[in-house]
């Protein structure tokens, strides 16, 4: 059974995407996604941009059920 030890793990080549190619997408969408998450999860709670309660009121139930501190 010692022959099993000698069997090398086959080298499977997995292509990776160059990070330089991902960086602009990550920067742009990372900012956009964070902005969306901010407006849904936190705006007009502790911080208000813009002032008022319209966004807070509209996404109120989502904020509670997705686990964000609402009020």
């Amino acid at each position: 059974m010692s022959s099993a030890v000698a069997t090398p793990v086959p080298e499977v080549e997995i292509p990776s995407i160059p990070l330089a190619e991902i960086a602009p997408w990550a920067l742009f969408f990372g900012l956009l996604g964070t902005l969306v998450l901010f407006f849904i999860s936190a705006d007009q709670g502790a911080i208000s941009l813009p002032a008022g309660t319209a966004i807070h009121e509209w996404v109120h139930d989502g904020r509670h059920l997705l686990g964000y501190p609402c009020h």
């Binding site: 292509p15 990776s16 009121e57 139930d61 509670h64 686990g67």
Partner: protein, 265 residues
């Protein structure tokens, strides 16, 4: 396989995941939100911890003429409002998870694109949703003081940020350890590092307990439904993205082998 192909797939899968989490939240969560709001309404003035924070649950007979307060009816909040929230969060998270999956393809040891995408989704759910929930669980309406919302928001998002950063670092450590000591040591080492760091963080961060006399059964059902909503969102993103990334990889492998065959002729 390009960054764009991952992002587009992440956005579409995220949209569908948002829809799935809306269905779960609407079915199991909304009844508990309604109970919590009716408790808040029926409580005598000043009896709840949330007596006067300028926040309303939108009832025409409130007589709230406060400047800048916009009221959205409960019927809208529990349907279109909830749908807006879950779809937007689904799309945003789906896109971000898609791009992170793109960056990890071929970089997590010998994991295939399908395996690395599933790993990214699982780490995402744990670090972005589950661990923050364990320290600062979701609170139903009527629980939570308006005076502490600033602190609670800062602690919650501080914990989320730290949890995600520590998860990324722990994953890098796990990959390095696996190269030298094997996959078992790598995974256990990385996961252990994350758990130890987050346990220490959770011990050091302040505990929030503003439940007061809120009924325990409603609180439990609400928190369970909130966790189910989050689990649905992340499971749908993880399973959906893993599926489409797997197909994307198979197609690119097939195209590559066709090119090689053509070149050899």
């Amino acid at each position: 396989m390009t960054a764009r192909s991952f992002l587009v797939r992440g956005l579409v899968v995220g949209l569908l995941a948002g829809l799935a989490s809306f269905l779960v939240a609407y079915t199991v969560g909304e009844p508990q939100v309604d109970v919590a709001i009716s408790l808040e309404e029926s409580a005598p003035a000043g009896a709840t911890t949330e007596a006067d924070d300028g926040h309303t649950h939108s009832h025409a007979d409130d007589g709230d003429a406060e400047e800048g307060v916009t009221e959205v009816g409960r019927g809208t909040q529990r349907t279109w409002g909830l749908l807006t929230g879950t779809l937007a969060v689904g799309v945003a998270l789906g896109g971000i998870v898609g791009l992170v999956a793109a960056a990890t393809v071929g970089r997590l040891g010998r994991l295939t694109p399908r395996q690395s995408t599933a790993t990214v989704s699982a780490i995402g759910f744990t670090s972005f949703a589950l661990v923050p929930f364990l320290k600062y669980p979701a609170t139903p309406p009527a629980v939570g003081s308006g005076d502490t919302i600033g602190d609670r928001t800062a602690w919650y998002f501080g914990l989320v940020l730290l949890s995600v950063v520590v998860a990324v670092l722990a994953t890098l450590v796990a990959v390095r350890l696996a190269e030298t000591y094997g996959a078992f040591t790598g995974v256990v080492g990385g996961a252990g590092l994350y758990v130890a760091a987050m346990a220490l963080t959770a011990l050091l961060l302040p505990t929030v307990n503003e439940v007061g006399a809120f009924p325990a059964d409603t609180l439990w059902y609400f928190r369970l439904s909130s966790l189910l909503t989050l689990a649905t969102l992340w499971t749908a993103i993880g399973v959906g993205l893993t599926g489409v990334v797997g197909r994307l990889h198979e197609r690119s492998v097939a195209a590559q082998s066709r090119r090689e065959l053509a070149a050899s002729l």
